[in-house]
Symmetry: C2
Subunit: 307 residues, 2 copies
């Protein structure tokens, strides 16, 4: 298979990603004052493109940022970046991360009026995960680092402040796990470092509700839709750290992981429980339903493909 070059667009200047630079005075660098989205393509079709843009607008509203670019302008820049990468010509699928920072200004937490936002688009290969994360499952640990609460830094701000999540995954890694599950201050499960989490508890498919701070994942939303279409009930509820001891299945969901079964779940006290290798019966059904949902999306959106 031919390779393409990871390519980045900084305010219209397109270069190999290894050469892409931003000013040190950009607020995205100084303060993490930025928002972003990540999507991937399937057969050249960007999955949930409109939904990503709507969530991006929501992140912008949550930090009082005027994006400074229309959706059409963004689309045009993404298209140009993918073309420059060679991926389109090679018919390779891509991972796209688009970022808008509050731009460059004096060193001052209060954004100065007249500061222009900066648009950064990174196009690269779709990440591949260790195959064992699917054939057996990923190992997760409940960590001591709590997820940022909504009243301080809402996890629905998909932005440049990911140190909370970095600390969570570092702690999980130090304990031998692949990823973390983070609790809120009330000991409720929120999410993994950058994916949502589902459990099967008492035979029911559940995922944390918004009462416990977590991102409204687009894959999570798609899972709800996909399951509903197939008659499998899924719901958003409060899930205490204690409740997961009674879970029979567990999986993570995100744009790039899709449905990734959890094999081992270690509690904060070190107590571990194992779930079926490669995912239990409901996890496997969700995987099949999600695949079908994506296939249907691709059929519906083929004509609308941007690339």
């Amino acid at each position: 298979m031919s390779e393409f070059t990871s390519t980045t667009n900084v305010d219209g200047k397109i270069t190999p990603t290894t050469e892409a630079r931003i000013p040190v005075m950009d607020r995205g660098f100084l303060y993490g004052d930025s928002i972003y989205e990540v999507f991937r393509t399937y057969e050249g079709i960007p999955l949930f493109y409109d939904e990503h843009w709507r969530r991006f607008e929501n992140s912008a509203a949550l930090i009082h940022l005027s994006i400074g670019h229309t959706k059409d302008e963004l689309t045009e820049q993404i298209r140009a970046t993918i073309r420059a990468s060679g991926a389109a010509q090679l018919k390779r699928d891509v991972y796209v991360r688009y970022v808008v920072t509050r731009g460059e200004g004096p060193i001052d937490l209060l954004p100065h009026s007249g500061t222009r936002t900066r648009l950064v688009i990174i196009v690269k290969e779709v990440p591949t995960w260790n195959p064992i994360f699917y054939s057996r499952g990923v190992d997760v640990a409940i960590v001591g680092t709590r997820r940022n609460p909504k009243h301080a830094l809402d996890p629905n701000i998909k932005g440049g402040n990911y140190l909370n999540n970095v600390l969570g995954v570092l702690e999980a890694s130090a304990r031998g796990a692949d990823d973390c599950l983070m609790l809120d201050a009330e000991d409720r499960i929120t999410e993994a470092s950058n994916s949502n989490v589902f459990f099967v508890i008492d035979g029911k498919l559940v995922t944390p509700s918004q009462s416990a701070a977590n991102l409204r994942g687009l894959t999570k939303a798609a899972i709800h839709e996909a399951c509903k279409a197939q008659g499998l009930n899924s719901s958003e509820v409060e899930i205490s750290a204690a409740a997961v001891a009674g879970a029979s299945e567990c999986f993570l969901s995100s744009s790039t992981r899709e449905i990734m079964p959890v094999h081992k779940l270690t509690a904060e006290d070190g107590a571990a429980r194992e779930f079926p290798e490669g995912g239990g019966p409901i996890t496997r059904r969700v995987q099949a339903y999600y695949r079908e949902y994506v296939r249907a999306y691709l059929r519906d959106h083929d004509a609308l493909s941007m690339f």
Copy 2:
């Protein structure tokens, strides 16, 4: 007075700040995965240089980062940057911000082993504040955005995740104030957007203790020392949002603000109280004690001046 040029050092490459760039794949940009310190010089002598380095090491430890540079290496790079700026030759004092990021790696929250940290040093003029902030005082508002809690993102991590503070100051600004006071989840005063806060309550000089998440400010520590030397008692206690209604004086403290009197304090419900213009009697004493403390520091450190 002659001007000098704001100058930045990125891993040894020194340029005017307007030309300084970092790779988009730097974790400092992607995740705010970085730490920093800011100090200023007085008569060419960096104030509390050793104390800043110790706090920097503490920030590094809190995010499990190996700085990758010794203090001597940092000092040498700072010296070269100040020299290149022309400030040393012009005998101008400077503001210095040094940042270490976890470096460049693949897009993955978990830092990859072998990632090298990046050192960025920004040298610029010492910021000047609106003179009214001293002659009358600064206006602050208690905002709805809560300070990040210690168990999620400890405010003692002086790092690249300042969106919580940006949201706080934006909210204050929208309400017509110059800065915010942030509460924790238990309605205790923590700090302003990037300075500590002191009150005079029942005639006593107090500042929030570490039980309410806030940065261990070096100016705050110096104020304690300076007051102690002059027989003025200052203490760190829990201060509820309700308690500040009974305050008779209030001021902010930071390396660049020094002791900045608060003129108006607006509660979340809009109730405002005013403090004496230019600071009340205790604030003025603290200003004098702090100035004397800095003078003594400069006398002691003159021979050790690095620049």
